[in-house]
Symmetry: C2
Subunit: 197 residues, 2 copies
């Protein structure tokens, strides 16, 4: 393999575009996520955008090799990270293909809660969510208008509150159940936090 770029601070997203301008967000990145792997002779099919002030760490091929050699757990950790990243992506396919507007948005809210919890960036089922409704629409394959109405529906049902980029899940159990969120694909977890052997 080759070098890696890791997001170390802030939020970002992976963007895919169609020649006629249609935009699809194919994943949100938070600290700890690998946003890109360098592979020789392969063109990138996506672009990255930061949502907030963010910083990145670049690990070169050699650095990575040395790390792997010195700490075998590094290689294993990368393998797990890769697997989870694929699982998240596959799950996004499931979302777009099978879930309706309510379920898509609710599922994203739940997923980000668990992922942020794992890195200590969520408390009490609430977290900073620096994503506009327009971007949320680009992520869920919906219209901004419909995203808006759906969020209002969630508010009316007392499931979430969202204002000033602060999201709070008011009834996680009910929301998770309604949108069929099962955190298993994010990794074997305990109370929302990864357990490393």
């Amino acid at each position: 393999m080759s070098g890696l770029h890791i997001l170390t601070k802030g939020w970002a997203y992976r963007l895919l575009m169609l020649p006629d301008g249609r935009r699809q967000i194919a994943g949100f990145l938070i600290p700890g996520d690998i946003c890109m792997t360098e592979v020789p002779d392969v063109r990138l099919d996506f672009s990255l955008s930061s949502l907030t002030d963010s910083t990145y760490l670049h690990l070169s091929n050699q650095t990575l090799d040395r790390l792997r050699a010195a700490y075998p757990a590094v290689g294993e950790g990368l393998a797990i990270h890769n697997h989870v990243a694929s699982a998240i992506l596959r799950n996004w396919v499931l979302n777009l293909g099978q879930r309706n507007a309510f379920e898509r948005i609710g599922h994203l809210f739940c997923e980000m809660l668990i992922r942020l919890r794992c890195i200590g960036m969520a408390e009490n089922d609430g977290y900073h969510f620096p994503v506009t409704q327009i971007e949320l629409a680009e992520a869920t394959g919906l219209t901004p208008v419909h995203v808006n109405r759906t969020i209002q529906d969630m508010r009316a049902r007392g499931l979430v509150s969202l204002q000033n980029r602060e999201l709070k899940i008011l009834d996680f159990a009910r929301l998770a159940n309604l949108v069929m969120f099962d955190p298993a694909y994010l990794h074997p977890v305990t109370g929302g936090c990864a357990q490393d052997g």
Copy 2:
């Protein structure tokens, strides 16, 4: 990393399911594709189904290590394969999120043509396509009824013919243009076939 399972003959697909029974196909696998990577302590989030009589090759951890050591190109090849597999998945997200029924199905037809060509399993823009309309619906997030009507539309426009599991793209240039298919994400290719250095 760990062991690998490679499809060596036949077609298969990766299936995701929701607890209420909704099914989403998250990718078709053809010979040469890695259908699964063994990662310790990680539960699989998908299942695999064969569409035709198929065979698999299992490469154990040790075998793989030995291969990689003896032939450096193996490691690089795997990295490229991984990258392309992710790109295909991301593209499927783009499909489901932004393309309409016609574009989704047409895009899949184009993608499979190029991928099959690379392994010598397509000729003259035609190939064996062992996927029922029901499965095609599960892959595209559409209804079988709507898939049917869309294919009829394609037939009526003289773009494809499909009967007895044999698909022929009658006007590839026009179809690719209509559905905005750009093979770049499948790998730098020449005439549909991968060029390895």
